[in-house]
Symmetry: none
Subunit: 245 residues, 4 copies
Amino acid sequence: MAGIKKQKAVPEITSQMSTDTGLTRGHKKKARTRQTLVDAALRIFAQHGVAELQLNKLAEEAQVSNGTVYNYFRTREEVLEAVGVELANQFSHRISAMSVGVDNGAERVSIGIRMFIRETVQNPLWARAVISIYQYDKNIRSAVANYLRSDLLLGEKQGLLQFESIEIAMGIVAFSTIGSMISILDGYQAAAVDTTVAQMLLMALGLTSAKAKKIAHMPLPEAEKETEVAKKAPRQPGRPRKNSV
Amino acid sequence: MAGIKKQKAVPEITSQMSTDTGLTRGHKKKARTRQTLVDAALRIFAQHGVAELQLNKLAEEAQVSNGTVYNYFRTREEVLEAVGVELANQFSHRISAMSVGVDNGAERVSIGIRMFIRETVQNPLWARAVISIYQYDKNIRSAVANYLRSDLLLGEKQGLLQFESIEIAMGIVAFSTIGSMISILDGYQAAAVDTTVAQMLLMALGLTSAKAKKIAHMPLPEAEKETEVAKKAPRQPGRPRKNSV
Amino acid sequence: MAGIKKQKAVPEITSQMSTDTGLTRGHKKKARTRQTLVDAALRIFAQHGVAELQLNKLAEEAQVSNGTVYNYFRTREEVLEAVGVELANQFSHRISAMSVGVDNGAERVSIGIRMFIRETVQNPLWARAVISIYQYDKNIRSAVANYLRSDLLLGEKQGLLQFESIEIAMGIVAFSTIGSMISILDGYQAAAVDTTVAQMLLMALGLTSAKAKKIAHMPLPEAEKETEVAKKAPRQPGRPRKNSV
Amino acid sequence: MAGIKKQKAVPEITSQMSTDTGLTRGHKKKARTRQTLVDAALRIFAQHGVAELQLNKLAEEAQVSNGTVYNYFRTREEVLEAVGVELANQFSHRISAMSVGVDNGAERVSIGIRMFIRETVQNPLWARAVISIYQYDKNIRSAVANYLRSDLLLGEKQGLLQFESIEIAMGIVAFSTIGSMISILDGYQAAAVDTTVAQMLLMALGLTSAKAKKIAHMPLPEAEKETEVAKKAPRQPGRPRKNSV
DNA sequence: AATGAATGAGGCTTCATTCAT
DNA sequence: GATGAATGAAGCCTCATTCAT
């Protein structure tokens, strides 16, 4: 987890989320500015929520002039959109990476839930950014849902999970997880929140208490995969229209 | 109870929410104006979310001058706080009223969940206000949680519900319900969302699938208030705002 | 005369200043409201300066409703004017009272200068009000000038004082006195400011250094009124306001 | 230096006051705009007094948008402070320039007094600005005092002037001068106010009537700058503002 | 591309004044 | 007279956006 040079007292929230921007070769300074801005935006979301994003603050955080922001984004909305896309992509990478090698649908779901909750404790700023944008942006909700969907369907196919409606099940798992993250940020203190939540949600998905407990308490895979995330390429400049963020 | 004269195309979201505090006597102008403002704020939350509350719009909506707002609230923040308190009070009344006469903890929880979800379909504006402020205001979350707590503890005492942590259980129930409401506002269409969600959450709380299903499908009590609500809440089309909630 | 009930921590600045308007008979409550308002205005001037007079604050300070102010004054300007007149009257009374029985023009001038400076130390709030309104209101300046004029002319007639222009002499005496008061409020600390200033001004008016010194150091007459003032004016800490006057 | 293009009927009050900082080269836009704003603020002070400074009027006067003001000053208070500093600096330059080449302390004091009074007649707007801010801002008073101090001490050292307290002497000279300026603005008309005042103040500082008269009547040095001022400052009638200064 | 000064619409807030009770 | 809620013009300030360099 490398981390970007920060000038403020804000802990690294982008480090894990952003790529290590292949600065191995140091000759794409200009192309990286956009990523710098997106990263800065994420840090601001974390601290102040989506609604508060101010472009002059963004410029300051990214250590560029305010005019520079407009070389990459035409409006404030476009910035929000780009950050949404960025975060959605990060979700994709992280969630897939999380349970790589695990082929039990119930376990995969459990791992996802637990990782998000654990990460909240480790990195509240990141959590705040996630929650903030998750609540704000329907597209993000869809992106998360899609990852959940495959695992839930897998679990169902394996005869482990049962639910009447995949959509409703996705909603419950996702919002309960987000809700638990919020509770933690609200100040709720407890050990093993992750396993407790995972167990309850597995029960909601049809597992018996015993089985749910067992799966929820399985050791988490070694998340060395964070490095993988780091490798992903910077987003392309072309503006993907439509709402989001 | 008659609902407030509206000059805009916004359906009644406050009429049903205002508690019948005996201020029918018209000699407390100040109290009435304050309520007018809070009601107007709720309507605005419903349409635009908490973050967008603008005090000049609030004044317009409440049909008073902008200066009047400041006779009641010193700052924008104070308005948000007051509305939060108001909504929390409404919750108190509504939730208690919902399952009055029901002494089974699991049933009480189920009724609460289902009522909120059903109300979302009937009155999306109200739902939007609830979601918006629920996400915005920790105090609201606490207020809701407290009502949940007693029912959960009752159910546990009755040997019906089981959970490791009451706090976590409250979070899961509340956020899953909110999440389902959001899904509905996001456009998710399904019959019997309420029973499905209630059943899953009861399972999360330790009931077997069969018992959960049975309780989740019990007929809802005839809430006279609800009848009124249904009457008053015309389907509301409302341009699908930027990003749902 | 008893001073007005104060609800704040502001020492009495009006009690000593209020002329004994024949309210000895205590049966004119309504007639006194106006005086209450003027007194309250003086207290506010003392604390915040003329420019800051706010009618709602005035009403609050006078413990009447804001509407009541408009039963006595039609506009804010009228309040300021009334306070000006009031203060001018107070000056009249005080200044004449000061050197009653003294028939030496130079001494009379000296006494006036010294009394104002001494009072500043004793009662900074009163001083602030005086300075504030003196600078604000030309009429006050005229009122003060008239009292000065007669003493200066007396002194000239007596062969004690000499000046080319009575108007200029009045200005120098008055503004030097006010200036000394400001210096004291600005934080200048010294013993015997009053005699030093009086001496210098007497010299400016043609007295030799020796004569000026002698007159400036004469004991002040026992102003019974002053005794009261001293009693009533507890040292006032008051944050040193940004820019004094 | 030619003065700033004015779009209003206000005579030049800034041109003469602006120090000739070599910002003639047009490549410091920011510095120029700031100066533009300060100059505009001085013009407003002259017309309306410090208390009335309105930032939208300031922007209008400076012919920039209101937002621009906030690129240079964070609050209204900061504008006042900046103008105070500016005026203090101008004082520094002007006063030193006034009696350059004169090495008699008493003469130097006399020259300063007389110049300010004469300038009041020539340029009432400038005088109003000076008076207004002098009364408002303690720092300005300090700045003026410091220039006076050295001359007074010089005169004392030369055996010309005598005073018990330098601080009190400074106060008397400064406030008497300001007071004379106010009298002039109040409408007092007389020839040779400057010499009369100077003479009286020199007497207050220990000079005999004869010596004081002689020094007070010495010809003023030819301030080339002053000539320009006289040229530029048309008599300004100006509605007699409610309460003068 | 980067810069950063300038812009101005629009929101927040104050406060003198009105008016029905 | 006294009250105090209501009014709304007017000021302060923010911030997304533009544009010349």
